[in-house]
Amino acid sequence: MNRLEIEFPRERNTFEPGEEIDLTVSWELEEAPERIELRLVWNTSGKGTTDLEIVQAVPFEFPSPFETRQTRMTLPGSPYSFSGKLITLQWGLELIAFPSEESTRREIVIAPSGTEVRLKSIKQTEQVI
């Protein structure tokens, strides 16, 4: 059975904007992939159309079927992870094997103090003011 994994430093999945992180990726595939790619992506989710952007892509050249590799990634300064009732912006790391396109995804939070920004409704905001 095929397996792809992404490990975070000290199992953290919340990070500061601009932070540099060391990641460990590993895979066990039945067939040797042509290449493996680690992608840092964000996507929106909610009531409307989903937007998605690949912000960084780290290729792992000449992969063998079973392997563990390390990489360092500098996270971008924005957009922050945020969520409201209508839209959520989520960051994720995706490890994809080609050409099979077998993949795994782990969600992360990129925001000041590592906490997703919660959007309040106008009513809630007025109450605070």
């Binding site: 989710s45 009531k47 409307g48 989903t50 969520s83 409201g84 009732k85 209508l86 959520t88």
Partner: protein, 200 residues
């Protein structure tokens, strides 16, 4: 509730597959399509799954080696229809099938022109609100039981809305399942956090 945890969020709704009714299925529908030489219409009112079915049909035909070109029309882009049509036809070969989403946006003369030009193509499959454009391939229908099945797929049993809620939603939106699901999204958006209870 966070938008990403809402069981009725757009990406989940868009991943729903078309549900055939009255004993119909893919095999019979594809046989009918072949019988009418790949020139047919998917007919039905708004929000009952015409585009979903059309897209699934395109995926199946593409998998079988039929090249497909889409012309997607809606109220917002109908004024750009001449340019869109020109662009669509520009690089089509006689092997292509033309799929038109929202054919009801075309006026009579524009439709006649497309129909004539599409005569040189391998097929023309449209979706539209009314019959009479091309032989009807399938009539998509809406029902409370369809809404109920969709809600069942999106929610675990213990969180499903009562039947009365679904009936009243169905009536309020005149059978438009898409609008019913948007209303359910709004209801869930105001609900307390149930993260972990709803399948991602």
């Amino acid at each position: 509730m966070r938008a990403a945890d809402n069981p009725f969020r757009a990406d989940r709704v868009q991943s729903l597959r078309y549900r055939f009714h009255d004993g119909d299925d893919w095999e019979s529908m594809l046989a009918r399509l072949q019988k009418c030489s790949f020139r047919a219409a998917i007919v039905g009112p708004e929000g009952v799954g015409k585009t979903t079915l059309h897209e699934e049909l395109a995926a199946r035909l593409e998998k079988d080696g039929h090249p497909i070109r889409w012309l997607r029309l809606n109220r917002e882009n109908r004024r750009q229809a001449p340019a869109l049509i020109r662009r669509t036809f520009a690089d089509m070969t006689p092997k292509h099938l033309l799929f038109i989403d929202g054919a009801e946006q075309l006026g009579f003369w524009r439709w006649q022109l497309i129909k004539r030009r599409a005569g040189r193509l391998a097929g023309l499959v449209i979706n539209t609100h009314t019959s009479g454009w091309l032989p009807t391939l399938i009539e998509c229908k809406s029902s409370v039981s369809l809404l109920s099945e969709v809600a069942e797929e999106l929610l675990p049993e213990e969180l499903r809305p009562p039947q009365e809620t679904l009936v009243s939603l169905f009536d309020r939106h005149a059978g438009n399942i898409r609008l019913c699901l948007r209303s359910l999204y709004d209801q869930w958006a105001s609900a307390p956090d149930v993260r972990g209870q709803v399948p991602r």
